[in-house]
Symmetry: C2
């Protein structure tokens, strides 16, 4: 930051200016990621966005409202599930490859990490991210799964993907953190496939095959 | 808090008092969980622990040192892996049952959530938790796995367990959040079993069985 930051808005930017809203949201994402949801105040946000606190309140009456709008996935969920069923039996491996490719991008990784940081920092933030997650990722995935319990199996796919991302990219636990893509695609892909195809080796009525 | 909190130590508690060190560590855990690692200062910690900052520095010369000692698993890893191989083929389901039982305990859940919150908040914290995780959980689990790549497979088991805990207990994504234990034990257990037994349906030389 090379110029001093005013604590109130520069004059002449009316609340209705079309660029104000995304500008405030961008500042909110920065502060939520840096300080967490709790520590971010409307005042600090206004200072970062270089607008008046009243302008923030005009666009986002509550901090919860702001959070809901500030959160957006840095990825296009369609990219993850597109043509997933084209080669039946390979969906799991394809998903792992796509997830790894997304997380390997430094910008995407930073944004997804910020999202997780916000999610674990506060219940209100967790609720907003829960909604985002369900709407943008689980829903589209569940729609592509055949068989019973598609929502549950989509949710279980998400647990494996989330845990892989957490240990590989955020906490960086070895040997998962530096494992070759092919190793992860093979092992994790096979397990995702089991969720996706309603579990080979298990019947669908809740009892376990021998 | 019913009594005012002094900003310096009550007189008469010398740095060497045997109860001082765990007392400081308990306060550190509280503050790390509440504010994150970054926002916790030696001064704020001394105030919380009701000791002098110099006493904190005497026991823990750096904040990193403090972090390393403040972090401890609120669970006994031996409980997770004890007699795991007694009934071969059921290790995965047993692990899921034990993990769910641990997380259902409110105190344990709070402490594990705090640990994760610290882990994602700062690189230094992540490094400390990485070490803890590897030493206390992955090591003992890998020792119990037969076959090649035991460390890798133990790591993959951990990704699935971590992701399940994250989505069920912290972000609380439905339907995983309220799923019956039996459903989770069945589906997730089967996938853990695949990691544990070096992958049924896959050969061990890196190629995939048809």
């Amino acid at each position: 930051m090379t110029r001093p930051m005013p604590t109130t808005a520069p004059p002449g930017r009316p609340p209705g200016t079309t660029s104000t809203r995304p500008h405030i949201l961008a500042a909110a994402r920065e502060l939520f990621a840096e300080r967490g949801y709790e520590q971010t105040t409307i005042r600090s946000l206004a200072a970062r966005a270089r607008v008046d606190p009243a302008t923030v309140m005009h666009h986002f009456p509550t901090k919860e409202d702001l959070l809901g709008h500030a959160l957006e996935l840095p990825i296009d969920p369609a990219v993850l599930v597109r043509d997933l069923g084209r080669e039946p039996g390979t969906e799991g491996e394809t998903l792992v490859r796509r997830v790894l490719a997304l997380w390997e991008d430094p910008d995407t990784r930073l944004q997804l990490t910020a999202l997780l940081r916000i999610a674990v920092s506060h219940e209100t933030a967790a609720a907003a991210i829960r909604g985002l997650f369900t709407r943008e990722l689980l829903g589209p995935l569940a729609e592509r799964l055949d068989g019973p319990d598609a929502q549950m199996r989509a949710g279980l796919v998400a647990t494996q993907i989330a845990g892989l991302a957490l240990l590989r990219f955020i906490i960086r636990v070895e040997p998962v953190a530096t494992a070759d893509h092919d190793i992860l695609v093979q092992h994790v892909g096979a397990n995702l496939q089991r969720y996706i195809t309603a579990g080979d080796g298990h019947s669908h009525d809740g009892t376990q095959a021998p």
